[in-house]
C-alpha cells in the first residue's frame, strides 16, 4: 500500500507542469477514479483543508491523502513521493547549470528570460486579486502589506499573523453590530 502510494504520488509530481494547482486534476484522476482510495467528497474536503493550512499545497494534499489512508507513515510516503521528482530534476539542473552559468550563450538566454520571469510573477497578483474579490473597500490591505514587506523589510510571517488577527477581529466586530 505505502509503496503504491509513493509511486502514484511520484507520478503526479513528476509529470505535472505548472505547480500545485495543476496537479489537482491528475490527483483526482489517480486517487478517486483509478484507485478508488477516496470518494469525491472526501477528496474535496482534503482540498479545502489543504488550502487553509500552511505549507506547499501539493504536498499538503499528498500528506493528507496518505494520512487518511494509512496514518502518519503513509502520509510521509505520499509527501516524499510527490517531492522526489522535483528534488532529483532540480539537483541535476543545478549541478549541470553551475558549470555553464558563465557560458556566453547561456548568459544571453537568461538575459532574455529574466524580464519575462518578473512579468510572470506579476500575473498571479492580478489573477488572484480577482478571485479574492479585491475591491475599493479592501484594496488598502494588499497595498499596505506590500509596502511594509517591500520598503520597510517587515517579515511576511508578521504580515500574515496580523492579517489573520485583523480578519478575525473585524468579523467579530461586524457580528456585534448586527
Amino acid at each position: 500500500m505505502n509503496i503504491e502510494l509513493f509511486i502514484t504520488f511520484m507520478k503526479i509530481g513528476g509529470f505535472t507542469l505548472g505547480g500545485g494547482p495543476a496537479m489537482v486534476p491528475m490527483m483526482e484522476q489517480e486517487i478517486v477514479n483509478k484507485h478508488h482510495w477516496l470518494s469525491k467528497e472526501e477528496f474535496l474536503d482534503i482540498y479545502a483543508v489543504s488550502q487553509a493550512t500552511p505549507g506547499i499545497f501539493a504536498v499538503d494534499m499528498a500528506s493528507h491523502i496518505g494520512y487518511k489512508l494509512g496514518g502518519i507513515r503513509s502520509g510521509i510516503y505520499a509527501s516524499l513521493g510527490v517531492v522526489l521528482p522535483s528534488i532529483v530534476i532540480i539537483l541535476l539542473i543545478a549541478i549541470i547549470f553551475s558549470h555553464f552559468r558563465e557560458n556566453h550563450w547561456v548568459e544571453a538566454f537568461f538575459m532574455g528570460v529574466r524580464p519575462a520571469v518578473v512579468a510572470l510573477l506579476a500575473v498571479p497578483v492580478f489573477s488572484m486579486a480577482k478571485s479574492a474579490k479585491i475591491s475599493w473597500h479592501n484594496c488598502w490591505i494588499p497595498i499596505l502589506s506590500c509596502f511594509l514587506i517591500w520598503i520597510c523589510g517587515v517579515s511576511p510571517a508578521i504580515i500574515i499573523l496580523i492579517a489573520c488577527l485583523g480578519g478575525y477581529l473585524y468579523g467579530k466586530y461586524k457580528l456585534k453590530k448586527q
Binding site: 509530481g13 505535472t16 507542469l17 505547480g19 500545485g20 482534503i46 479545502a48 487553509a52 493550512t53 500552511p54 505549507g55 506547499i56 499545497f57 501539493a58 504536498v59 500528506s63 494520512y67 502520509g75 510521509i76 509527501s79 522535483s86 532540480i90 539537483l91 539542473i93 549541478i95 547549470f97 548568459e107 544571453a108 537568461f110 538575459m111 532574455g112 528570460v113 529574466r114 519575462a116 520571469v117 518578473v118 512579468a119 510572470l120 510573477l121 506579476a122 500575473v123 497578483v125 492580478f126 479574492a132 490591505i141 494588499p142 502589506s145 506590500c146 514587506i149 523589510g153 511576511p156 510571517a157 504580515i159 500574515i160 499573523l161 489573520c164 488577527l165 480578519g167 478575525y168 468579523g171
Partner: protein, 200 residues
Amino acid sequence: MILLRLFLVFSYIGLFNFGGGYAMLSFIQQEIVEKRGWVSDSEFTDIVAISQTTPGPIGINCATYVGYTAVVNDPEIQSLSAPYAIHICGIIGSVLASVSVLWLPFIVMILVSKLILRYKESTVLKSIFGGLRPAIIGLLATASLSLLNVANFGSPSADTKHFIVSIAIAIVVFIGTYLKKFNILYTTIICGVIGILIYG
C-alpha cells in the same frame, strides 16, 4: 554553519506559507535574497525561471534550488578543498531545504485537519481568510517589484539596448500571460531564444 541556518529559515518559511507556490517565492525572495543575501538577485531570477518550467510544485523546486545555491555560495563551504565537497554539501543543502519546508506544515495538517473540516463553514474561519487573502496578494506583489531591478533589466543609462529589450519582453509576456493565457514553458523558451538572438 549554513546548514543549520538553512534549516531554521526554511522551517520558518514553511510554517507561515499560506497562499501557494507564488507566495512562497516572494517569501523566499524576502528572507533569503533581500535580508540574508545568500543568493543574488539574478541567481534567484534564474532559479524562478527554472522552477516554473520543470515539473513538480514550484515552491519545492525553488526551495531545492535555493538550498543548493545558498550552500555553494557560502564562503565556509567554498573554502573546502576536497574534490566534489562543494557539490556534496550543495546536495545536502538542497534536500535539507525542501524537507525543512515540509515538516512543520505536516504536523499542523495532522493536528488541525479535523478542526478545519468541522468549522469549514464557520464565520470565524471565513473572517480570518477575509483578512489573510488580500494580505497574501500584497506579498505576491513584492516578488516582482523587488526583482524589477538593474540585475534583471539592465541599466537604462549604461546599457540602453538591454533595458529597452527587457521592458518590451516584460510587457508582452505580462499581457500575453494574463489576457491570452500563454503557456509558461513555451514563453520562457521563446524569451531565451530572443535573448540568444539579441545578446548572443
